[in-house]
């Protein structure tokens, strides 16, 4: 897995790109080996720090399942994610759906009909 510093530098560049409205950092925790979790923790520490000064809204998708083994591995990581006060989702599909529902809601409130 990549060094956290490079990832964060990339996030910094992307968040300044005017071609996007928001930014998602994602990971499927199911395939991350236990010995890589420390690196993942470093990444999220950086993402949280980056989000404080980010020009675009950010969210985290940490895909996981609820098997006892997974929960033990990812529990502290998810707690850290939630403490960031960033939106945290537990699957790609549910994140996409919720963001779509809320973005659509905001568009309707502003009188903008979605053109998708």
């Amino acid at each position: 897995m990549t060094e956290p510093e490079k990832l964060l530098r990339t996030v910094g560049i992307i968040s300044r790109w005017d071609g996007i409205d928001f930014l998602i950092w994602f990971i499927d925790l199911a395939w991350v080996p236990v010995n890589e979790m420390e690196n993942v923790h470093k990444m999220i520490d950086g993402i949280m720090a980056e989000s404080r000064g980010a020009l675009k809204p950010m969210a985290i998708v940490a895909q996981t399942d609820i098997s006892p083994e997974q929960i033990k591995k990812v529990g502290p990581f998810l707690e850290k994610c939630v403490s960031s006060e960033l939106p945290v989702y537990y699957s790609f599909g549910t994140a996409a759906n919720a963001l779509h529902l809320v973005v659509s809601h905001n568009e309707r409130r502003l009188g903008k009909e979605a053109d998708h």
Binding site: D21, F22, S104
Partner: protein, 360 residues
Amino acid sequence: MTYFKDGNLDPLFHPVSIALAGITVDNPEHWTRTFLDSLLEFKFEGPLYLVNPKGGEIGGIKVHQSFADIAGDVDYVISTVPAGAAPGLIEECAHKGVKAVHFCTAGFRETGEEEGAILEPQLVEASRRTGIRIIGPNCMGIYCPGSRISFNVDFPKESGPVGFISQSGGNTGSLVQRVKSRGIRFSKVVSYGNACDLNECDFLEYLAADSETKIIGLYIEGVRDGKRFRQALRKAAEKKAVILLKGGLTEGGAGAAAGHTGSLAGNEVIWDSLCRQSGVIQVHSLEEFADCLVTLRFMPDPGGRRVALIGAGGGSSVLIADEFERCGLRVPPLPGKIRERIREFTPVAGNILRNPIDYS
């Protein structure tokens, strides 16, 4: 006469004193102890009275044999007396100057049986005559961390900006617990069951005006007054973000709702249309509800649908891009100049510098 003027339910969510009527004295494991355990856990600050004709004491708190035996005033009653004793309890409470009673007890209209169908109108009649407002019957009542009232010892003790109105006590508990670990906190929550007196419109109008509540959630199985509900929903959504989960939209679900809270089924097309016209976010599961709450609470309005996806894993990148675009969000390609900037410090091998950006 009513103690709640102009729909202001503040006294209901902030009672000065509470009495628990019908609490079981002998069995600490009995379900009627839930409310006492929760109020003690939350350190409810006002006088707390226990009432059971058997008398005695629970954990050093005296159990009064009747309301007449209580020396102080009682604002609010949480009742677990059997359904048949409920109308009589209202009379007893009226003499004590009680403002509202929450009937947790089931066994009314929702049973579909004659006895329950007769009892519920009696309860309503007693409420109208005495001015005592009723939450329920057949529900879990109020969770308001600001006034240290809860019906579950595990609920968060901190307040937050979400108000939740739910016809189901179980779904109330499930949602509160489900979003607890995701940082969501609540201003006021009410599980209101059969809604024989106070109903979804009363609570919705109240939360729409409540300064502590910024986001309103609703779990509804049926409405008592469709026209009023439509107006209340539209007005609430003009001021605040509103999320609605309608239970019982299928034939099987509608049958379950009738047996759960005595609610009549609703047509799915009508509810879809109502939500759309009212500017309400409609969800179809508690999981979706939780995800939308998290989004509304922690995601500033991005002002558009274009997303950059940055993460780890080639296969994951493909799947997340599919999910986002399938939902109508856009994943625009990374411009060449930005790719060049990233390439300056990132090897090409093992990474995909497009969008999604895969940092494997």
